[in-house]
């Protein structure tokens, strides 16, 4: 579907900001209406282009956060303090503003409702965004594929989509959500804050014998660590898909 839609080339489309939602101290969701949006698969991204009045422009890629739904496209943007595009998207955009986008892009790091196998999602920080699109798409499609999310964050207040994840963990049949904290733990949490390791993985993720498809998204060192842990635990590298953003992945 999305693949066929971009065969003829990808045009820039002027979307309109419908809604702006603060997710955490540094993450914002922008809900866009994009006329003629061709639809997208969960996990795909798009390019956003900002143009200054004198014609200077800058573009960056952002993961799409929502399940395909007509012309509605949601982006969750983590504001990087020295970023070129993300601070403007986080702070400078108001409801009603136009925003140019081009997409969807990428056909590898995607989950489609036709997939029936168990799925292990592993997110570091704002790497949760494309994985949330998968969780939302699964729910919308009424898919029965077993899903587990392991979401590593610095602190409880850094969890993006916190309320929705708690709710879905209760209501979405076959979805499990586990958190890991690297700096600050919530009250009563039994494990000291630390980076994910083999023990966390064993406790919270789908065992390799069930042959889950694994999707890992986050900063590069996190993805390297998580992917290596999965392989060491016995997961087939061919079933692990990764998406990384580097220190300059603005």
């Amino acid at each position: 579907m999305a693949g066929a839609a971009i065969l003829g080339g990808l045009d820039w489309r002027a979307g309109t900001v419908l809604e702006r939602r603060k997710e955490t101290a540094t993450a914002y969701t922008l809900v866009l209406d994009v006329p003629d949006w061709p639809g997208h698969d969960a996990g795909q991204h798009l390019d956003v282009r900002l143009t200054a009045p004198d014609g200077y422009s800058a573009s960056r890629s952002y993961s799409i956060a929502n399940a395909a739904n007509g012309t509605r496209v949601e982006l969750t943007i983590e504001e990087l303090h020295d970023g070129e595009v993300s601070p403007y998207l986080a702070e400078g955009v108001s409801v009603g503003d136009p925003l140019e986008v081009r997409g969807p892009i990428g056909g590898w790091f995607v989950w489609r409702p036709t997939q029936e196998e168990p799925v292990q999602l592993i997110a570091g920080g704002s790497g949760v965004v494309p994985l949330m699109a998968m969780i939302r798409t699964r729910a919308l499609a009424g898919s029965g594929a077993p899903f587990r999310l392991l979401y590593s964050v610095r602190a409880p207040q850094s969890i993006i989509y916190s309320d929705e994840l708690m709710m879905r963990a209760k209501d979405d049949n076959g979805l499990d959500v586990a958190f890991a904290y690297t700096r600050t733990i919530p009250d009563g949490w039994l494990r000291a804050p630390k980076r994910i390791d083999a023990a966390v993985l064993m406790e919270t993720t789908i065992p390799p014998e069930q042959k889950p498809s694994c999707y890992v998204c986050g900063p590069t060192p996190f993805v390297e660590t998580a992917a290596n842990l999965l392989i060491a635990a016995g997961h087939d590298p061919d079933r692990i898909k990764t998406e990384r953003f580097g220190p300059t992945g603005q």
Binding site: G3, I6, L7, G8, G9, L10, D11, W12, R13, A14, R49, L50, T51, A52, P53, G55, Y56, S57, A58, S59, R60, S61, E84, V85, Y88, G92, V93, D97, P98, L99, E100, I105, G106, G107, W108, F109, T220, E224, A227, N228, L230, I231, P237, D238, I240, K241, T242, E243, R244, F245, G246, P247, T248, G249
Partner: protein
């Protein structure tokens, strides 16, 4: 493309000094970001092998010590990633593709690079010849790290960097062009950064 760009009120951006070295839509980074679609394969040198396959199916193979015995050259070049970062004056050492192709009988016009882990990417053969491409084994004076494609990666710096296949283990010569991994998934067949050939149809 829409004819008129939409103006983003109040957007200034981080303008970098204009430089003839920077292709359109790119920004300069001083880091070396990692982008890979799969886990990083660990390839022991004693198991490493590079295979050149012609369109008629003839092969030439090099193990690591045979490959490292080939003449290496030093390359200083700018690199341009489709995710919009460019890095200037990166220094590499590698074996020229001309060296690997020396004496090979072929009328192929295209090549598919293959990698450990299953990655592939297509490049016209003319873009690999005459000192334009290498199989690089050294970066910044050190053995190329696995994260960045070691033991060896293809280096075709005049095309977007996804063409510079990490963990490369072979080249297959082809009479007709065929899409590789990203080229099947929406990315441009050629990938010239100066013409901003990022995606299909660009």
């Amino acid at each position: 493309m829409s004819e008129e760009k939409v103006i983003s009120k109040g957007f200034v951006g981080h303008r970098q000094a204009e430089t003839a070295k920077l292709p359109p839509g790119q920004y300069v980074t001083h880091d070396f970001p990692v982008l890979s679609a799969t886990p990083t394969p660990k390839i022991p040198l004693e198991k490493w092998e590079f295979t050149l396959t012609t369109e008629s199916g003839e092969t030439r193979k090099w193990n690591w010590s045979q490959f490292r015995a080939l003449p290496s050259v030093q390359i200083t070049t700018d690199i341009h990633c489709v995710t919009r970062w460019s890095k200037f004056d990166t220094s590499w050492e590698g074996v020229s593709i001309d060296t690997l192709l020396d004496g090979v009988a072929s009328s192929a016009m295209y090549a598919m690079a293959h990698s450990y882990g299953g990655y592939s990417t297509n490049v016209p053969l003319a873009d690999l010849r005459e000192g334009k491409a290498w199989v690089a084994h050294t970066y910044g004076g050190k053995e190329l790290e696995a994260e960045h494609g070691g033991p060896a990666r293809l280096l075709v710096p005049h095309l977007y960097f996804w063409k510079s296949a990490k963990w490369v283990n072979g080249l297959t010569l082809m009479l007709k062009d065929e899409p590789g991994f990203w080229e099947r998934l929406g990315y441009n067949m050629y990938g010239d950064p100066w013409r901003e050939q990022r995606y299909w149809g660009d």
